[in-house]
């Protein structure tokens, strides 16, 4: 058969080829195909070769579901290949992956949901000393992993490039990541608004926002949107321009920058996504009456006011969305990626006592 005729044959084939298609192509009965593919000795070698050639030509593949099922029914042993989900990060443990406090909650939520739905779950790193894109691709194929969670890929670190059409993908944060996939995250816009309104309720009048310079890129500027919206509801004189920390700033410099800014704009409270905001203000010598709140706490802390994120739910949603994609065989880059946001809850703390 010529190359073009073969292509035509493929084009006509709208469904996945079955052993009946192979049988038709080889001119034998389908039970012969079944036996030939299992190398049953009752089939003559020349017939088997003919069937194998036809199987290759039609692109026949064993249905892994059916095959796994029938194999297990026969042998009644545990399945070796539980489908797996890989959580990818471009920050390796050597570079502090597990030191980030939200990672623990995120992984727990994602892993527990994966187990509840019957998937195995593993964390894979794309970073120096670990995988790059080509080796990651080989690994995923070898392990037959088709469900991926792009977990908080940071800008200015290793990038990821895979033949996406072979994978079902969801992502958390990393809004700058191209292409964009089904997205799940904390509701940072809601968190800033919640912090802002609560600080106002506690009597603070000039509430500022301080975030890292990369954050608007990673979060599609959602904290900024929430902040602008709240500013719009207060008197024009109380609207402060947000502070952007330069990228990779060290603690000492951050303390100086935020304290200078607090004095300059006369802020009486600061919303920040860092838990150490209270310490930074003390360290930099900002006035003691300046309150502070963290917009992404991982658990309620008595000394720190702020919004406690439901990171477990973010993690379990990541897995749920991915399981839905895997189940409906939605591979590749979605035409319209959706975004899911999980709201947090406000907790009072001594870093922002009532002004009265």
């Amino acid at each position: 058969m010529g190359e073009s005729a073969r292509r035509d044959e493929f084009r006509r084939m709208k469904h996945l080829p079955t052993i009946k298609d192979v049988a038709a192509a080889a001119g034998v009965h389908f039970t012969t195909v079944s036996m030939a593919l299992r190398s049953d000795p009752r089939i003559r070698p020349e017939t088997r070769n003919r069937v194998l050639a036809a199987a290759l030509r039609t692109g026949y593949q064993r249905n892994p579901v059916g095959a796994a099922l029938s194999m297990r029914r026969r042998s009644a042993v545990a399945a070796k290949n539980t489908p797996r989900i890989a959580f990818l990060s471009n920050r390796s443990p050597e570079n502090g992956f597990y030191r980030r406090d939200y990672i623990g909650n995120l992984l727990r939520g994602a892993r527990e949901q994966a187990l509840a739905l019957g998937y195995e779950f593993e964390v894979v790193f794309v970073d120096q000393g670990h995988h790059d894109s080509p080796s990651l691709y080989r690994y995923l194929k070898k392990q037959a992993i088709s469900g991926l969670i792009i977990g908080a890929f940071e800008p200015d670190r290793a990038e990821l490039s895979l033949p996406w059409e072979e994978f079902c993908v969801v992502q958390i944060d990393s809004r700058h990541h191209r292409p964009s996939f089904t997205f799940v995250s904390h509701d940072q816009m809601h968190a800033v608004r919640l912090a802002f309104t609560n600080l106002r309720r506690l009597g603070y009048r000039r509430v500022g926002l301080a975030i890292g310079a990369n954050d608007p890129i990673v979060t599609a500027d959602l904290p900024g949107c929430g902040y602008l919206l709240e500013l719009y509801s207060v008197a024009a004189a109380d609207r402060l321009e947000p502070l952007l920390f330069p990228p990779n700033v060290n603690m000492k410099a951050a303390a100086r920058i935020v304290s200078e800014w607090v004095r300059e704009v006369e802020a009486d409270a600061v919303i920040c996504n860092w838990m150490m905001i209270g310490r930074l203000l003390r360290l930099g010598g900002a006035p003691r009456r300046v309150g502070s709140a963290c917009m992404c706490l991982q658990r309620p802390v008595p000394h720190l006011a702020g919004v406690v994120s439901n990171t477990d739910l973010v993690g379990s949603q990541l897995t749920s969305r991915l399981a839905t994609l895997l189940q409906s065989e939605s591979y590749g880059v979605p035409a319209i990626p959706t975004s899911t946001y999980v709201e947090g809850l406000w907790h009072d703390g001594t870093s922002a006592p009532g002004r009265n």
Partner: protein
């Protein structure tokens, strides 16, 4: 070649204990280990079904975890294939609830038509059946709906974009795996699917600027707090008030015709953004012909509306997502209030239209 295929040959059953993989832990084993409960109790408990007391559920779930039992997605997938071949007669039913007194009224709403069709398709893919329930004057009261759903054992429920004047649906929410489409100001159900008005407003603002408009006005939606907030946030972030572009031009959507005219005149607004599709006729009533004397872009268009520029919302996708969400909740039997509220935004796509020509084509020059 035969070698390559040889690996696919049926594996011989393991002959030695050393090589043999561990035996499958079945629900029967768990039933025995959990102290002699029935296998069906185990099945229900592992699906977190409320028919089993919480204490028993936890006990069985812990036993199963300790014994190394886990759900088999291959079998799940196989079961779904099996269902596909039509052997099973009844699929679980999901309730699709709208606030129309009559089916005809729902059919007259393109938005609800899209939601319904999207939801229907997703339900089919996931082997559920979608059933329409009408709540409102001349149809079911919430109490009646509650008791019908209870009697029929329906626990998956989608609130499909109730209109803002309709009060929040009062049901025994703890019984349901519920998702609402729009209705963002309601507290329950905690899971929401909505169009991304924040992004829509950003896109519309930028497109208007590209087309040469300079005074962009935003009309909010009366009675829709959360949606108005999103539109406002999108507007503000594009407008960047702190970078001295002048004050934001935002007005409540329930202005009288006279006050709307006055607002447009005094602020010299040359383009109006709004989510409500009725804004076009309001502008006309105020004496500004859209597309000739003033630009107008709608932030939430349906597919069929071709005369207005703006963002076409993918309501079919929204309907489908609602079904996917409810099914994934009911698969794990997560009923009632969640630990947190959660919202999924469906993005819209921009479409040019005669209501928003290039700025220089408007007859008015301000």
């Amino acid at each position: 070649m035969s070698k390559a295929f040889g690996t696919m040959a049926r594996p011989r059953p393991a002959e030695t204990d050393v090589d043999s993989p561990p035996a499958v832990v079945t629900m029967r084993d768990i039933a025995r280990l959990a102290g002699g409960v029935h296998q069906s109790t185990v099945s229900l408990a592992l699906r977190n079904h409320p028919a089993i007391s919480l204490a028993t559920r936890r006990h069985i779930q812990r036993t199963a975890a300790a014994a190394g039992y886990h759900r088999d997605p291959l079998l799940d997938a196989f079961n779904e294939r099996r269902l596909q071949s039509g052997q099973r007669k009844s699929h679980p039913v999901l309730a699709f609830v709208v606030d129309f007194g009559h089916r005809r009224k729902m059919d007259a709403s393109p938005l609800h038509g899209h939601l319904w069709h999207g939801a229907l398709r997703a339900a089919e893919t996931l082997f559920h059946r979608l059933e329409l329930f009408l709540v409102g004057p001349g149809a079911l009261t919430p109490e009646r709906l509650d008791s019908i759903l209870f009697t029929r054992g329906i626990d998956g429920l989608i609130v499909a974009s109730f209109r803002p004047q309709t009060p929040p649906l009062e049901l025994t929410w703890k019984r349901y795996c519920g998702v609402k489409i729009e209705c963002q100001d309601w507290v329950v159900p905690h899971f929401t699917i909505a169009t991304d008005l924040l992004q829509s407003t950003r896109v519309a603002y930028r497109r208007a600027k590209q087309l040469g408009y300079s005074r962009v006005g935003l009309l909010l939606e009366p009675g829709e707090r959360a949606r108005s907030d999103l539109a406002q946030a999108g507007y503000l972030v594009e407008h960047s008030p702190t970078r001295a572009r002048g004050k934001p031009l935002i007005a409540p959507g329930n202005l009288s015709v006279q006050r709307l005219r006055k607002w447009i005149r005094s602020e010299q607004i040359d383009v109006v953004l709004a989510a409500s599709a009725a804004t076009g006729s309001v502008l006309t009533a105020a004496g500004f012909a859209p597309g000739r004397e003033i630009g107008w872009a709608c932030l939430a268009l349906t597919e069929a509306e071709r005369t207005v520029a703006g963002l076409v919302a993918d309501y079919e996708r929204a309907g489908a997502l609602a079904v996917e969400q409810v099914v994934s909740l009911s698969r794990l039997n997560l009923r009632g209030p969640s630990s947190s509220s959660m919202i999924t935004y469906v993005p819209s796509t921009w479409r040019d239209g005669p209501s928003l020509p290039s700025r220089h084509l408007l007859t008015t020059s301000r």
